[in-house]
Symmetry: C2
Subunit: 243 residues, 2 copies
Amino acid sequence: MRPVTDARSAARMFAQFLRGAPYHLPFSADELDHIHSMPVVARRYSPRTAITVTRQADLFIDSGWAIAHKSMANGDRVVIDFLQRGDLVTGHSSSGLACVEATTEVTTFEIQRPWLVAQHPTTARIMVSLMDRNWSIAVEHFANMSRRPPLDRLACLFLEVAHRLSQSHAGEADRFDFPFTQRDLADALGLTAIHVNRLLRVLRESELLRFQHWTVEVTNRRGLLERTHFDPEYLEMKISTSS
Amino acid sequence: MRPVTDARSAARMFAQFLRGAPYHLPFSADELDHIHSMPVVARRYSPRTAITVTRQADLFIDSGWAIAHKSMANGDRVVIDFLQRGDLVTGHSSSGLACVEATTEVTTFEIQRPWLVAQHPTTARIMVSLMDRNWSIAVEHFANMSRRPPLDRLACLFLEVAHRLSQSHAGEADRFDFPFTQRDLADALGLTAIHVNRLLRVLRESELLRFQHWTVEVTNRRGLLERTHFDPEYLEMKISTSS
DNA sequence: CGCAGACTTGAAGATTATCAACCACCGTGG
DNA sequence: CCACGGTGGTTGATAATCTTCAAGTCTGCG
């Protein structure tokens, strides 16, 4: 993927990106200057193309849906996460067998890691906070996998996605696009696509939530919360500021 | 837990800790000076005591075994990781319902986060690298949970622990202490303790590995590797240096 | 039209949890 | 010295859950 703009305007867009949802970072003039001087690369990926990150670079999702997955030795696939605006993909750790693929059209900002962690304390703090959040998300998914029954896992997945969307696009959306297949869901939940299908039916028939035609519709949020005890605390963006 | 020494000698011990296994970090005189000036707190925890981290602090395990776990709304427990020398516990993310408990006697170094990420690029790089590794470990555990059969999960857990030990204490140890119960293993693998018991018997009777009397004995490493396709790449300490 | 991918449904089979005992070890206190 | 309780471990029978296998539907698209 070629850069879509020169580094100068990409840096400007990146600064705007950090100041808006979901981060809402308040920058001083000095901090803004530094970010404007960074060698940011803005890219645009077509649907169904691979998003590759070099080992020394990190990547911010600006818009669109992507899927982070990993293939096992036996051929099985594991979906690590459904990525949306605001999510950070670290090149350093996504090595191994993990890879990211654009599902819709995706735009990103890519920055060499030294610029983010070693040049200015502000961006270092941001990185560390976002990596904390990524760890929390991974651990929560692990816990769901470990000790939540499949139906609750599925419900929690949708509640999480909805909450992450609401962080970027203000307001609790009870209806949103979700361009992934039942197979994707199954690989994210450690189930078979067939079983996910049956679980979706249960959710639909119990009037809790429906997922059809690539859109999710939360029909009974209270009921879902009561059933799953979903707590979005692990998704909060706890970005420490200089103050 | 009270600090066991003053900050000055704690900082000195911490610098030695970072220069030794498993990190092997080569510091310049300037970097060493900075680390010696940091307000490090060294602590010692007795077996079966809780290790608490304040939100703004991070913690390095210096010696001993600890267990990071989390309790679910329904009362179930999830073991997130078995912690040993070299592991980083971030206070920021281990909030929520996660907590850490010393299993043996444990010694730690505790540092306020701003000192680690905002005062010097070297420590910021170290933090980011270790958080990358923590994420990789969480994702690998998630993938194991998701798509590996229980017996392989159990085997991989022991291979991972053995590899992490070998990073701190040179040499591939095929026999080591592991002071955790079958219930702990079960909560780490998403199984029941009863089932873990049966799986351990299978491993023992197939002459692959035995875990008895709180010691693990790898009796057929090659066989385990062939069965599980265990690849320790995700455990490597890829700490970027200033060069 | 026909094909491919995604989804749906049913029946059979395998795996793991649950329930219920029981044993072994160890520190405590009579 | 020994009875006792608690924890951890072991084993068997039963039940619930999820996967596998098989078949069929629906949709969009060349």
